[in-house]
Symmetry: C2
Subunit: 338 residues, 2 copies
């Protein structure tokens, strides 16, 4: 089960039997609206705060997932959830409504794959019949907390990224129809001294490269074992840096092989600067877009490397650099589909 | 492995082969100074912020643990860590220094047992040779973030609790000498509508009762199967409420059977109001105090029910009530010791 230093090979191959994806207005106008089960045309979603709106996103993603699986909330053993808001209140408040026994995860934007990796691990140990893993973010809740309320209209440099308003959930079962989770690599925290919160992609690139190289080393695999490797949200700045770092280590990943969820979510003419970010970004692109490609037979072997910048506004004010992390999960079309 | 709805029985019985506990000045003058491997006489611990001081606490707890186990950092597969500070920066920064592949956990003060439960689950699936689980809190870092900087001298009601300045770590191995982790119950989020952040014990009591009852139900066990059941930080207000709620469900737990880590850490004459709190509280009381009792043969079967209040200053300002959770882990003296 443990492979090498920091990776897992799931012999039981837990199945992703259903997914649920919810987005906001910017995502509705983006490049992959068909990736979403539900799209809201307003950032408030009828709530009186952006944090409460984010809770609604999470509840929606979980409800959509359960609906497709014809399961009730009571059937699910555990819900693994996380987001970017202080003390993960959107996830906790959704956990309160949903009532499934709850495990809070935090890895910033890497939370999506942290939850999926731990969920698959619990399945591997026969620790659950059904697990929901959900990750989310909300653009204006995040802006308000990490930077400035958007109403201030403050400007940003082109290296900045646009936090997705999105929640993506998946249901794990021991058997069933759907893609299977085959491997995972848990990342180390890597900090190369970068401290610009308007260039998270650049800061996270070395962590992504570290985890990808560890994944190949630990699981004795190589780039050609995957049809596609996607990072979570390295964006236009971080992706080429990560590609360079991997090349130095002997892994030559070209554009068709190595892409970024943050560059798939929005259209080029949307004002998202260097691309999308947020735990919700990699969650919806993986669960809503890439797994649909897998269902259609366009993709068989996928490695999702969700990247996270573990800073806080306070750590930035205290002149700290940005510690970063990436967790990788390998998802493959199962026998019946391939 | 899965027992009932929300519990785990660990057939492999992962062993806690070493622990590390670090505290601050208030803990040094407390009721159980012998529970600590390392005590600092100053809250700043030579750093220029309380958050950085908390990072030093975590690094100390991990270093003490590894020293006792004669292991190097490189020998440990994963470090599971969490705290109360926004975006868990003290844990992330400690993870950066330590360099062990890292999984961030958030369950507020329940983080200590969330980490231990997930760590034991990873061991159960053969997902690691060595795992470190660490939880921490820092009194003044917490006050500053959740309430007011202590320098303001603001007053508090007697129902308020005192966040411990403490970090507690444990090392899990497949075999070895030490107490074993036998069961765990993952809690649901319970919110009875209480919204007073100066009475967390009262808010958390129903969540603790819910998890304890679920534990008995799921694992087909009863109070007499344990020598001692401890809640994490219900304090003087929450503990009797939880006792009453359990009595209504047919579980009569008297003082000798059901106690609270938050009432063990400090002396009665210390100005801690209703008792200690914080993820560091249940971590150091469990790893430093109760497991030492187990080593001496004074305790054989222990259930630690770490309790967490999942609020944020913002959710309070938005007039939300306090969602609460509790995770229970059963630790038993192993054959050789009992």
């Amino acid at each position: 089960m443990l492979a090498g230093k920091q990776s897992w090979i799931f012999d039981s191959k837990p199945v992703i039997t259903a997914t649920g994806t919810v987005g906001g207005p910017f995502e509705a106008n983006g490049a992959i609206p068909e990736a979403f089960d539900l799209l809201h045309d307003d950032l408030w979603i009828g709530e009186d705060s952006y944090e409460k709106a984010q809770t609604v996103l999470i509840e929606g993603a979980v409800t959509e997932t359960l609906k497709k699986a014809s399961l009730k909330k009571e059937d699910v053993n555990f819900m693994l959830a996380g987001d970017l808001v202080n003390q993960l209140t959107p996830s906790s408040f959704a956990g309160r409504t949903i009532g499934i026994p709850y495990l809070g995860m935090f890895g910033a934007c890497s939370t999506s794959m942290e939850g999926l990796a731990i969920g698959a691990m619990i399945m591997e140990a026969n620790g659950a019949r059904h697990i929901i893993s959900v990750a989310s973010s909300h653009n204006t809740a995040t802006e308000k907390q990490f930077r400035y309320p958007t109403e201030y209209g403050s400007q940003k440099p082109p290296t900045a990224q646009w936090t997705a308003t999105a929640a993506g959930a998946c249901l794990l079962e021991k058997t069933g129809t759907g893609p299977v989770v085959t491997k995972a690599t848990i990342g180390r925290i890597v900090d190369m001294g970068l401290s610009d919160p308007y260039d998270m992609g650049g800061a996270m690139a070395p962590a992504a490269a570290d985890t990808i190289a560890a994944h190949f080393r630990d699981t004795n695999s190589k780039p050609d074992d995957y049809d596609l490797i996607v990072s979570g949200d390295l964006g236009q700045i971080g992706l080429p840096i990560c590609r360079d770092l991997l090349k130095q280590q002997g892994y030559d990943l070209d554009h068709s092989k190595f892409q970024d969820c943050g560059l798939m979510l929005y259209k080029e003419d949307q004002p998202v600067m260097a691309g999308a970010s947020g735990p919700g970004c990699s969650a919806v692109v993986t669960y809503g877009h890439l797994l649909k490609k897998m269902q259609k037979g366009e993709l068989k072997r996928l490695l999702v490397v969700a990247t996270g910048a573990l800073l806080s506004p306070l750590s930035y004010q205290q002149k700290e650099s940005i510690p970063c992390i990436a967790h990788a999960v390998s998802i493959e079309a199962n026998g019946g589909m391939s």
